[in-house]
Symmetry: C2
Subunit: 321 residues, 2 copies
Amino acid sequence: METRLHNPPSAEEILQAHERIKPFINRTPVMTSGTLNRILDAEVFFKCENFQKVGAFKARGATNAVLSLDEAVISKGVATHSSGNHAQALSWAASLRNIPAFIVMPENSSRVKVDAVKEYGGIIRFCKPTLAAREETLKEVIAETGAIEVHPYNNMNIIAGQATAAKELLDEVSALSLLLAPVGGGGLLSGTALAVHYFSPHTKVIAAEPEKANDAWLSFTRKEFVPSVNPQTIADGLRTSLGSYTFPIILDHVENIVTVSEESIITAMRFTWERMKILVETSSAVTVAALLEHKVDVKGKKVGVVISGGNVDLDDLPWAR
Amino acid sequence: METRLHNPPSAEEILQAHERIKPFINRTPVMTSGTLNRILDAEVFFKCENFQKVGAFKARGATNAVLSLDEAVISKGVATHSSGNHAQALSWAASLRNIPAFIVMPENSSRVKVDAVKEYGGIIRFCKPTLAAREETLKEVIAETGAIEVHPYNNMNIIAGQATAAKELLDEVSALSLLLAPVGGGGLLSGTALAVHYFSPHTKVIAAEPEKANDAWLSFTRKEFVPSVNPQTIADGLRTSLGSYTFPIILDHVENIVTVSEESIITAMRFTWERMKILVETSSAVTVAALLEHKVDVKGKKVGVVISGGNVDLDDLPWAR
């Protein structure tokens, strides 16, 4: 009973994804900050996926993708190219099913990230640090091993999995006016937007993106796909382009995309660490920056925020550079 | 109806303290780490007072002390000498009652700490950085203002307040074999030990202390008070000596005190940040160090740990020095 989705996940499919992954993932806490609420004159609820398995929401999608596929399709393993949280998430999810995860990583990946993938049991193949080399090497690995590719975001099972974070938040906090999420490839954002569409249709979804990687904003505004070309943002999880699956969902169900400066991302990251005492990564600070910079009108409103992850290199903090 | 306690707080008095402070403090979350549980082969429950008001358990004691005193006694304000979390906590608690908090701080206190006290409304008087100067200046301030001293730990209302953290943990997690807390002046530890004595008598309380500030361990072992003399530990919240109120409670109700190295404190702090994604301060890492260094036999056991606070200077992290 393979459940590889080809249309955008339905409400039922998101609920099924949730049931499927629930035994393996963390039900992450929803946290608040009195200080932030006072500053904004709003009620903000953070869905803290930095406390998720592997330290990021990516565990949800990867687990759903790995558990959804038929034994015959997946027995030789899964494969992806990623230097980020998806690499760790897929390695971890594959271990739940006792199948190999082949991870193509650029040879200049940080030691921290390489070690994390190895720790979760991923089998690493290094390549030159270009998109062409990554794709080529992934093809080779798949040809050699018979593994099936699990794309980090342009995959409906991944999107259904990522949708479950917003679903849990909506279950816990009612009547949100707004729900904010960061946007890179759009897996989290499209899943969030679908969950809101089905389970809380009066809530508006707002995405936040670095100005220096504003391809999603451009695409959304022009209503045509604009690729991300070598963006230099510190928010390394948000450098990717939207996908052919994620972009249409975002066009249909997202209210707005706002952009924030690099400086405001660093300030917001530090604010979150100092005041909320939680580690969030740069990509997660982008939504907090949008709030602190008043890029979104939240006054008097109940606002949800998906904190996407907390994987940081403590030897390379942005304010110490 | 002044309720200034002179005997160790009774079970009833701890429950009253809890009711008194509940509307003002955070019910902090209890968190777990799958990684740590696997490493230790134990079930560890962290009572996360880093998420408390002002970022530390000190808000509990200060609030209880401030709210327990008669209007006539307290109308001129409260006063203390402290360069740490008690200064912030007392400033914040005083603001709840709209009375002034006079804080004597050494003139070499870090900018971060001075700013935090000011932010909570504390009125700072600087002094030379010696204990004699601090005590002398505090006397002067009290003579001038008519404020009443609220000692950071050698005060039964403070001890009753600090006891409520363990009380909440015991309410939430049953049948703990062990409960760990750090020890500096002993306010948190004596409160924790009393809460366990009354509400979970089969649980054993273990304290953790830096080797380089092992005065509590020496006092406990010799059963006679040994002062802390200019200790050089990085765990700046644990440099103080036990008090005449806290030491007898600790002798009566604490099972053991273990000590840990400076290196292990830094390693444990970093482990907690990286793996649990929460900011804990050096003083809180001392208990985690005791676990990671196997200074306490926890195998197969249910173990509670009071994480005391999360106030850190992000510009001065110990692994970056």
